[in-house]
């Protein structure tokens, strides 16, 4: 009988139809030395976290630096991480502290840079009706929110955190978080209304 060597194909759990591992499981695997687990975790949360930091930081270079610092804090803390809360709460709590440090350092609470072509009042009603344009305009409007309301909105929109989790991340009382989100939504709705 002749033996034939066949390279083994590494297949992930998704290919087997298994559910993707949750964040806590990935952190535990990374703490045990599985760097591919960190990569999965990173790819899952990188984009919303990046947008959260960029929309709170006036300068892109500062935002990039803060973004890297947050992930390095996650890497260094992997051995101490306890899944007493959701991983996103832990992640955004680190990001909140980092951004707060940066704001204190810069001492400038100005609006973030508004994306180009975000506000095009010459556009036809048909163009304005498209949700993509409206969404872009909405993002620009988010940049005009006061910092605390902006952060609360972004934690909800990007991190998908509950009001209770936002209170934990920001250290603000639950009712304060609730009213910040309410005023933020009210402002954004008024901005949306001016486009209609």
């Amino acid at each position: 009988m002749e033996l034939v060597w066949v390279p083994m194909q590494v297949v992930g759990p998704q290919e087997h139809g298994l559910p993707a591992p949750d964040d806590a499981a990935l952190m535990a695997r990374f703490a045990s030395g599985d760097t591919s687990a960190f990569e999965q975790l990173y790819r899952r949360h990188r984009a919303p976290l990046y947008r959260y930091i960029v929309r709170l930081t006036p300068h892109r270079a500062d935002a990039d630096e803060a973004f890297q610092d947050v992930w390095m804090a996650v890497v260094r803390g992997c051995g101490h991480y306890q899944p007493s809360a959701r991983f996103v709460t832990y992640l955004y709590a680190i990001a909140h502290r980092r951004v707060a440090d940066q704001v204190r350092r810069n001492k400038r609470l100005s609006e973030v840079q508004i994306p180009e072509n975000a506000i095009d009042r010459q556009a036809s009603p048909q163009a304005l009706a498209e949700s993509a344009v409206l969404g872009t305009a909405l993002q620009a409007a988010v940049g005009q929110l006061p910092l605390a309301q902006r952060e609360t909105f972004l934690l909800r929109a990007e991190g998908d955190l509950s009001l209770q989790e936002i209170a934990v991340v920001t250290g603000a009382p639950y009712e304060t978080v609730k009213s910040r989100l309410k005023y933020a939504n009210q402002f954004l709705r008024e901005k949306l209304g001016s486009w209609k």
């Binding site: 990374f30 030395g33 760097t35 960190f38 990569e39 990173y42 990188r46 984009a47 919303p48 990046y50 947008r51 960029v54 990039d64 973004f67 890297q68 992930w71 390095m72 890497v75 260094r76 949700s131 993509a132 409206l134 969404g135 872009t136 909405l138 993002q139 988010v142 909800r156 929109a157 990007e158 989100l181 309410k182 939504n185 009210q186 954004l188 709705r189 949306l192």
Partner: protein, 109 residues
């Protein structure tokens, strides 16, 4: 204002929120994470090697130190005499006897 209105705002926002970090930053972060774990794995091995090296050095280096002290004469210790000349004197019984005779009245002759 209803929760549905708030959900519409979230939906509108998320539909256009597609910004992501640059690939260079992705690479830096993932590389740093791999390097950190590699250092964590190597640290116990390096610690063991360093300890082994220290033990080997300690075992092989020649021992330097002061010369062993001469045994103390218990008689001198009781009398509180200095060890130098008195020790030489006590170690020579004939000299001690002659010294005793000299000290006797009329013994110096």
């Amino acid at each position: 204002m209803t929760p549905d209105d708030d959900n519409d705002i979230l939906k509108s926002y998320r539909s256009a929120a597609n910004e992501a970090p640059p690939a260079a930053i992705d690479h830096q972060i993932l590389s740093a994470a791999s390097a950190f774990r590699a250092r964590q794995r190597q640290f116990p091995l390096l610690l063991g090697l360093a300890a082994g090296l220290l033990i080997a050095l300690y075992a092989t280096l020649p021992k330097f130190g002061p010369a062993p002290a001469e045994p103390r004469d218990p008689r001198l210790a009781q009398a509180g005499l200095s060890e130098g000349r008195a020790a030489q004197f006590l170690s020579n019984p004939e000299q001690m006897q002659q010294s005793a005779f000299r000290q006797m009245p009329g013994g110096a002759n």
